[in-house]
Subunit: 220 residues, 2 copies
Amino acid sequence: MEEAAHPYVPKDLKLPGYVPISMSMSSILSVYLASSLFVASLVWFLFGRKKLKLDKLLMCWWAFTGLTHLVLEGYFVFSPEFFNDNTSCYLAEVWKEYSKGDSRYAGRDSAVIAVEGITAVIEGPASLLSVYAIAKGKSYSYVLQLAISLGQLYGCLVYFITAFLEGDNFATSSFYYYSYYIGANGWWVLIPLLISYRSWNKICEAAANGVETKMKKKIR
Amino acid sequence: MEEAAHPYVPKDLKLPGYVPISMSMSSILSVYLASSLFVASLVWFLFGRKKLKLDKLLMCWWAFTGLTHLVLEGYFVFSPEFFNDNTSCYLAEVWKEYSKGDSRYAGRDSAVIAVEGITAVIEGPASLLSVYAIAKGKSYSYVLQLAISLGQLYGCLVYFITAFLEGDNFATSSFYYYSYYIGANGWWVLIPLLISYRSWNKICEAAANGVETKMKKKIR
């Protein structure tokens, strides 16, 4: 009789005191998209002057992903009972909605919390540091971007592998499976892959130039 | 009545068909230590000629950790029923013994398998590539070492955080807890931390020199 008091799969997931979502999917997504666009525009127009377009784009990405890690994922990690929230708090609504794509969020799966914890506490602040590092042309800019991107990729791997090993049956419907679980996370595979590739090459170039310079000095 | 047919904690862990360890702890450890020493000496004397001592030490570490990842951890990942092995296969004995420090290995915890899978399949071959990269002074040497070390650290974080979240009660006794779970894994925290720190600094130095060279060229 107690079963399915929530919309999530598996149906026998226990969520005592679950309070249903009060915001619509479109409102939740609109707020996220609008605030992300706001952050990106701010970075693009205020901090990105005299920068190459690609650097400006990267700064927008790091500001966006850093705030997503810190605010959204940080809230999830430290709010074990978000599904009981009855204040229509936006952050709780986000995770009630996302749990339709992966109920392990509502169910507090330990692998998900571990990955989200590392992402929120380490990668969030590090991503914001990347914005600063690119803006100021710091020497650690590429290695920092590489380290965070590899962390994001490692996190995604653990996230997808554990779901697969546990039966891959955590989505309310295939719509939520493909749009939230695959679609939303796909960006955090694709973009970190591209940034890792670029940063890796930039670092190797600098290292190769260093060896060249040393050899020239020796020949002189 | 079926409980405690195995030596692991928690006692209610189900391991149908469990075959007890046949090798002693000292034999298992001796084989591991002796073969590790053999690999390290081989690298030190054969491949490390004309190298600085620190580079030789690093090559020994990468050969040792790479083979541990590939052989020991690779066996674990792809042998879901190692606890049923009755052939006294050395690799099965290793994991039957190690499970006394963390029964999630015998219990096939999905977070452990995910981390071990990434470690065996990606970090194992990458570690062996590091031996080659250091030997040949490749330009990607430091960035490769950094990437693997950060991966090892991420893996350890997931490993320890998930155990903590699940009650941290997977060791047969505090002896096994501190010697296997904390002690053995501690090396894979300490050494990757040191290597990450060094590689990070080397990469930043090269990047800073690159910027300096470019500026000198501009001034000329």
